[in-house]
């Protein structure tokens, strides 16, 4: 998936597992940028009695590089605290939860937000309520208006924040893709599927009707940019204390020491598809400024070599590129430095020469409010991925097409793009989600409830 369970160690620690990161100029408030970091992959809506929640023992952060050094110039920290008013019941709620103050709600979380910048640490909010998980019409009636809406808080600097359960907005045909790189719409060309006599078929959205936990922040652009530098680089991390003692004599575990990073995410699919299995856990511990050590995997992505093998005869030009050992400068630009001026008319999201996996957003490009393309920049829509990432961008198809060679022509005009490269897709669109996105903050849809989505 985008970054769901993308590395061996973090796949065993879902509370700290970053799944998707979004950064875009807010379409309904174009003077602001919205940053969303998702955690806890593949939440089944009926996952009670202990419904999903953030980790009290995890430090969640969203970092912003404003100076093009691939270092955090601004960091937002999010720390959660769980309360259990009545420990003598097994119930998450003892009656309908009708408001964020409902006495029936027995397992609740609050959180604090701290901004760290060159002027120091600034507590922007504390005791902010998360909404409960969406259980069902009896437990969480009027979820959107009574519970999720009031959980959007205004911070002391005027920014807005939301932290809690949301509908998964990422769409992907995992069942097919991880079955030897099969893309159902093209499986009549896939070497193994063809052998099985499989015909081309529509994609199937694996995370349909699943939820995720989102940390969403809407900040004035001026708060996250510096003068004459509209391009920002964004990433999220989750960190745990270095020492943990499982205390069988106490009710809680003992956590001690400084935080150490266990998960990070910027561009979708970077660690999942680019970084080899033996280095994925290590990648999760590293800062982006050190990503030069992974640049080889971007310049020579394994998937670009696999496509011509899995789809014989479909990608002859891509195969020739790989055979020649040509470094993919297009992918290095898209994923590691941003696209410099002059490559695409009127567009840049270049942050500087330091190679780092950052989600780069040129905040001076206004949001596309009329017929945005889910293919983002590849679809002629400069407000979309890889210029930041909007909730609806089809990042799977965009990255498949880029890796298949579509973007290589940007830096080598003599290169002939394989006909199939520009059509690659896992066959999904936002309509394959279980519900709609929101047109306003926090943009990801109302989480699916367990009663109506029991399996």
């Amino acid at each position: 998936m985008s970054s769901h369970r993308e590395a061996p160690e973090i796949s065993k620690d879902p509370v700290a597992d970053s799944t998707d990161l979004y950064a875009f100029v807010s379409p309904d408030k174009p003077g602001t940028v919205t940053l969303i970091a998702n955690y806890i992959p593949l939440e089944g809506p009926a996952g009670g009695p202990n419904f999903y929640e953030f980790g009290d023992d995890v430090l969640y952060e969203i970092h912003i590089d404003t100076h093009g050094r691939s270092e955090a110039d601004v960091t937002y920290e999010f720390r959660f605290h769980t309360q259990l008013p009545n420990p003598d019941t097994f119930l998450y709620n003892t009656g309908p939860i009708t408001s964020l103050n409902s006495p029936s709600w027995n397992r609740r979380q609050t959180y604090s937000v701290t901004r760290v910048d060159e002027w120091g640490r600034h507590r922007l909010g504390k005791g902010l309520a998360c909404p409960p998980c969406n259980i069902g019409p009896l437990s969480t009636p009027h979820y959107a208006t009574a519970l999720a809406g009031p959980a959007v808080h205004t911070l002391s600097d005027g920014s807005r924040v939301f932290a809690g359960q949301r509908a998964e907005g990422f769409y992907v045909d995992l069942g097919s893709i991880f079955d030897l790189g099969d893309l159902r719409p093209f499986q009549n060309f896939q070497v193994f599927a063809k052998g099985e006599g499989l015909k081309a078929a529509p994609g199937v959205n694996t995370p349909k009707f699943l939820n995720v936990h989102s940390i969403a922040l809407q900040v004035p652009i001026s708060r996250v940019t510096v003068h004459n530098r509209p391009v920002i680089g964004v990433w999220t991390t989750a960190s745990r204390r270095r020492a943990r003692i499982l205390d069988s004599e106490g009710a809680d575990h003992v956590h001690s020491g400084p935080h150490t990073q266990v998960s990070r995410l910027a561009n979708p699919l970077f660690n999942e598809v680019i970084v080899p299995l033996g280095k994925k856990d290590y990648w999760n511990t590293q800062r982006p400024v050190h990503d030069k050590q992974f640049a080889h995997y971007v310049a020579h992505p394994e998937l670009a070599g696999l496509l011509p093998v899995l789809y014989p005869g479909v990608f002859p030009h891509l195969a020739a590129l790989g055979k020649a050992g040509t470094a993919r400068a297009d992918l290095e630009a898209i994923l590691l430095t941003g696209i410099p001026k002059g490559v695409i008319d009127g567009f840049t999201n270049f942050t500087g020469p330091v190679q780092a996996d950052l989600l780069r957003l040129n905040t001076s490009i206004p949001p596309t409010t009329s017929n945005p393309s889910i293919f983002g920049l590849l679809g002629g829509d400069a407000a979309g991925f890889p210029n930041g990432r909007r909730v609806f961008d089809d990042v799977v198809s965009i990255e498949l097409r880029a890796i298949a060679g579509v973007t290589y022509r940007l830096i080598d005009h003599s290169y002939t793009v394989d006909a199939a490269a520009g059509e690659l897709t896992d066959g999904l669109i936002p309509a394959d989600l279980g519900g709609p996105y929101l047109s306003h903050f926090p943009y990801l849809g109302v989480p699916y409830d367990g009663y109506h989505h029991p399996s």
Binding site: D56, D57, L59, A72, D73, V74, T75, E77, R79, V116, D117, E118, R121, S239, R241, R242, A243, I245, D247, E249, G250, D252, V254, H255, S256, G257, P258, H259, T260, Q261
Partner: protein, 112 residues
């Protein structure tokens, strides 16, 4: 900008030697925390006066905070290298590295 205090402390403190955290303070820290895992358990077995009073688990009430080390915060000691006497000491959100062969030798003996 400066990084957050707790993560910034790691590489800096990793260079510190035992002079910044004396053997005595390690023992006292373990004693006051009670639940200092390896250190407390080991030192109790060794019969050291500093920890002899901590037979009860005496874990501080409530979940550990995420702020700077307080007096009631547990101390966790990880012996990295027995031969070199090298230990990582965690308390609150800080980490320091201590080198003291005598302490590590006594802890190892106590853990046998």
């Amino acid at each position: 900008m400066s990084r957050i205090d707790d993560t910034a402390s790691a590489p800096v403190s990793a260079e510190r030697e035992g002079s910044l955290l004396s053997r005595r303070s390690v023992l006292q820290g373990a004693a006051s925390a009670g639940a200092a895992g390896v250190a407390a358990a080991a030192l109790v077995s060794a019969g050291l006066p500093a920890v002899a009073e901590t037979k009860a688990p005496a874990r501080p009430a409530g979940a550990p905070g995420m702020g700077r080390a307080g007096e009631s915060e547990p101390v966790v000691v990880h012996i990295r290298d027995i031969a070199a006497g090298e230990m990582d000491v965690f308390r609150g959100t800080t980490h320091i590295r201590v080198r003291d062969k005598e302490i590590t030798a006594r802890l190892v003996r106590a853990s046998d």
